[in-house]
């Protein structure tokens, strides 16, 4: 499986926090509840499905998943 990388677009994120709920290993929230990818956004092996799940549930379409 290709290596995945995630990124939360800070201009689009409105803090619905769906990603944090679905994939807490990949996302963290700031003090306002807005989401950021953890570290450099590299998705550890085995968490690919969670990355896609977060991406497909973000109401603001703020999460980019890219295959490296």
């Amino acid at each position: 499986m290709a290596k995945l990388k995630i990124r939360v677009d800070q201009d689009k994120c409105q803090g619905h926090a769906r990603c944090k709920s679905l994939a807490p290993e990949l996302f963290e929230l700031d003090k306002y509840g807005n989401a950021h990818e953890i570290g450099d956004g590299t998705v550890p092996a085995g968490l690919e499905d969670k990355a896609w799940l977060a991406q497909t549930n973000c109401p603001e379409i703020a999460i980019e998943v890219t295959e490296e």
Binding site: Q14, G15, H16, A17, R18, K20, S21, L22, L29, K31, Y32, G33, L53, T56, N57, C58, P59, E60, I61
Partner: protein
């Protein structure tokens, strides 16, 4: 206190939904879903002359476009009503547009993060069980008036640092502002004044008796220039938290129980697979979204190819967007483990509900505790389910019988 609904002006019944829709029509209140489907089939944006002129986007795409367009659409009026008084009741940030919106919202966000809600969850769990204790021995109850109604009001009272027992007064004010206020300015103004007087007293008290509750947090907050918020801003935010935080979540929990009461397969599945709860809560929020918002058209534009003109309001129906088959497969079905669910129950864009994490927590805890103690229940054929009118939709009476049917 008597219900003022009986003397409010009645709207003529709707005979042409596409050109003359009315979200206060009894048929909309009872079962809006086929109406939304009809409107959506007709056009992505429909219009009515009622309410002094009002559009309604019917597709998810059109709802998103309007929610994201703060240049042409203002939030200064967030309820579609019969009248449009010049004097605007401010409740920042929900009634704010850019650039005032962001700093007002940032003041409110930190107390409502998922982590903050985790700390509140044990109190909500206790509230749920205290309520269930009161009626479980009866073998039946009105789940809306005995259970779902009291959970959000007690939770928000706990956060604000005001007595949970004042809840019935809050519920009355909200009914007057959100439902009766659509048709009567007099009822709305009176309720808003009573609410302001109530909170002004709590603000004054804290000036000499500081506490660590949410009212004090707001009083101690600084605006973007580093100045403390004035009392009017604090009052407006409190008004918002109370109005937005109570019958919305009451409705969401109630609709979820209504669905589970009449869908044994989903109920049994949730009892057997409690780990499904997070996805199920999102799906129930999608299918039975309680909150419809409004915008006011400020400049002429087009939405999904339809011209939209100033002087009109917009009924921003997130519930209808969430039933759009172009966005959701089997949009009219509840699929508890729906994998792809970008639902808009908490709005889209900068006005995403400040209390969404609170609502989710309350809904999750309320369903978990109910299902633990009352895993089997069904609608009481001797009772009648009734629904609230207008801006927030949910069951106001939900008579259920406990146990398996005979």
């Amino acid at each position: 206190m008597s219900d003022a609904a009986s003397y409010l002006p009645q709207h003529p019944p709707v005979t042409d939904w596409v050109n003359d829709f009315d979200h206060t029509d009894p048929r909309w209140t009872e079962d809006p879903f086929p109406i939304w489907d009809e409107l959506r089939t007709a056009s992505p944006v429909v219009h009515t002359e009622r309410f002094l002129g009002c559009y309604m986007p019917t597709t998810y795409e059109a709802v998103r476009a309007i929610a994201n367009d703060t240049e042409h659409f203002s939030s200064r009026r967030v309820v579609v009503r019969d009248i449009r008084p010049e004097q605007l009741g401010k409740a920042p940030p929900i009634t704010s547009d850019p650039p005032e919106h962001k700093p007002a919202k940032q003041l409110l966000l930190p107390p409502f993060t998922p982590d903050a809600m985790k700390k509140l969850a044990p109190r909500v769990r206790a509230i749920c069980n205290e309520l269930i204790d009161e009626f479980i021995a009866d073998g039946k109850c009105d789940a809306a008036s005995r259970y779902t109604k009291h959970i959000p009001v007690r939770a928000i009272a706990h956060m604000l640092g005001i007595p949970e027992k004042d809840g019935d007064r809050f519920i009355q004010w909200i009914h007057q502002i959100l439902e009766l206020g659509i048709k009567s300015q007099e009822v709305l103004v009176k309720a808003a004044e009573e609410m302001d007087t109530y909170f002004a007293g709590h603000i004054e008290h804290r000036k000499t008796h500081p506490s660590d509750d949410l009212i004090s947090t707001l009083m101690n907050a600084k605006d973007k220039d580093g100045k403390p918020l004035d009392d009017a801003h604090v009052l407006g935010s409190l008004r918002l938290l109370l109005i937005a935080g109570i019958d919305t979540t009451w409705s969401a929990i109630g609709s979820a129980l209504w669905h589970l009461a009449r869908t044994p397969a989903d109920r049994e599945r949730l009892v057997k697979e409690p780990a499904l709860m997070p996805l199920a809560v999102e799906e129930l929020l999608r299918a039975y979204s309680p909150v419809t918002m409004a915008r006011e058209v400020m400049k002429e534009t087009t939405v999904s190819g339809c011209p939209v003109k100033p002087g009109n309001m917009v009924l921003l129906s997130f519930p209808a967007a969430n039933r759009d088959p172009a966005m959701f497969s089997n949009a009219d079905k509840v699929v508890l483990d729906r994998k792809e669910n970008r639902h808009a129950a908490f709005g889209l864009g900068i006005h995403r509900c400040v209390g969404s994490n609170l609502a989710r927590m309350e809904m999750t805890v309320a369903l978990e505790e109910w299902l633990k103690r009352i895993p089997d229940f069904r609608l009481d054929p001797a009772g009648k389910v009734t629904w609230s009118e207008g801006t927030v939709r949910g069951p106001r009476h939900l008579p259920v019988l406990f146990g398996k049917s005979a």
